[in-house]
Point group: C2
Chain length 225, copies 2
């Protein structure tokens, strides 16, 4: 997906130095990697967008807030995902670690100069951004036109593709996060999951409500029009 960034070792070292100066609180520096603790902010809306991030492990939520606290999560970023790429000089939404999360930082300026001289880097950047846009367009359809059951089904199928291992999907995010991603309340999400459980479409593993087995992907896909 996005691999050619470290082609320039000088840029890599530069971003290391700059990052070291900024590490004041939670983040732990390990080369050009940071680890954020569960629930901590990686960057906030309106902050200068000097870095781009790649998730090494963990999970990140990107969201926007209304003045009265209503929240819309626009994307979950899992291992391998790149986020923080913006048009202007300021971030347009907030990014928070959902669980303890390690990210690799890339200085934006060095990325820009790499794109300037290497058309392959530029093409990858564009392709990544277009993929994000495509995801956003699909999500608009979900938010604008799907029922609660359809939304939850779509969510499960999306997560299934991205983080099912050994038949079990371990969700890093809470019901509230899911709700704010799907434009629902957490109660509605919970009810939809219970319903899918009753229908034999999914099962829970052990005591955790975050470990899910999809028993009938076919029927689930039937809810995702």
């Amino acid at each position: 997906m996005f691999v050619r960034v470290n082609a320039d070792p000088a840029a890599r070292l530069n971003s290391l130095g700059a990052l070291g100066m900024e590490s004041d609180s939670n983040p732990i520096v390990s080369l050009n990697e940071f680890t954020y603790r569960k629930g901590t902010e990686i960057y906030g809306e309106k902050e200068p967008a000097d870095y781009v991030y790649r998730v090494e492990s963990g999970a990140v939520r990107g969201y926007k807030l209304l003045s009265d606290g209503r929240r819309q999560i626009s994307a979950f970023h899992l291992a391998g995902d790149v986020f923080g790429l913006e048009s202007g000089s300021e971030h347009q939404f907030t990014a928070e670690a959902i669980v303890d999360t390690t990210v690799r930082l890339i200085k934006r300026r060095s990325l820009e100069s790499a794109a300037e001289s290497d058309a392959l880097v530029a093409r990858n950047l564009l392709s990544m951004t277009m993929d994000n846009l495509q995801h956003a367009e699909n999500h608009m359809l979900l938010l604008g036109r799907k029922t609660s059951l359809e939304r939850v089904a779509a969510f499960l199928l999306e997560m299934d593709k991205r983080l099912t291992a050994a038949g079990v999907m371990v969700l890093p995010m809470s019901r509230r996060d899911i709700a704010d991603y799907l434009g629902l309340t957490l109660e509605t999400v919970s009810r939809a999951l219970s319903r899918l459980h009753e229908l034999g479409i999914l099962g829970f593993i052990g005591n955790s409500q975050r470990q899910i087995v999809l028993l009938d992907r076919r029927q689930l896909a039937g809810f995702d029009l």
Copy 2:
């Protein structure tokens, strides 16, 4: 509804002639320009994305459909806007002319090769795509978390910025289009507009319900949190 267009631009220009035979108005304007009549499809989902389009005049809606007909319009493209830029080789949504619309076609391949050799072109492409992504993210917040009144207020402010001339905003799209853009029904949109009218926030010009004057942008912005 529309003649399936060949990938070859020469064939496409030829089809202009064919179209001219079945349309009664003036179809061809200049070389790589094309005029679509009100309500006609510019391209459909799953069609090969061989061209990128720039709106010269008119208005275009881009939308996705669910199998049962529910529609979500992801963006309105007005004069000056570029649309049709996709990640894969196929279009991910349908584009239709809302009113008679003239577009300029750019062959995708030639754009790609231009980006390959000219970093400025590449940067503009990326910047444009990022702007689209930003719009999509704001729209997700609207669709997921805003009330009907807030959505209509946001819509009016957006259109006001883009197509108000001489104090009057002339909407090219129907109530149904607005509803499908905002994730509402046309009745709810109509009620919200009536409400804003009662409140003295907007007025209608003449007999048309599509010519709107914003009388109190301040108060309107108060609904857009």
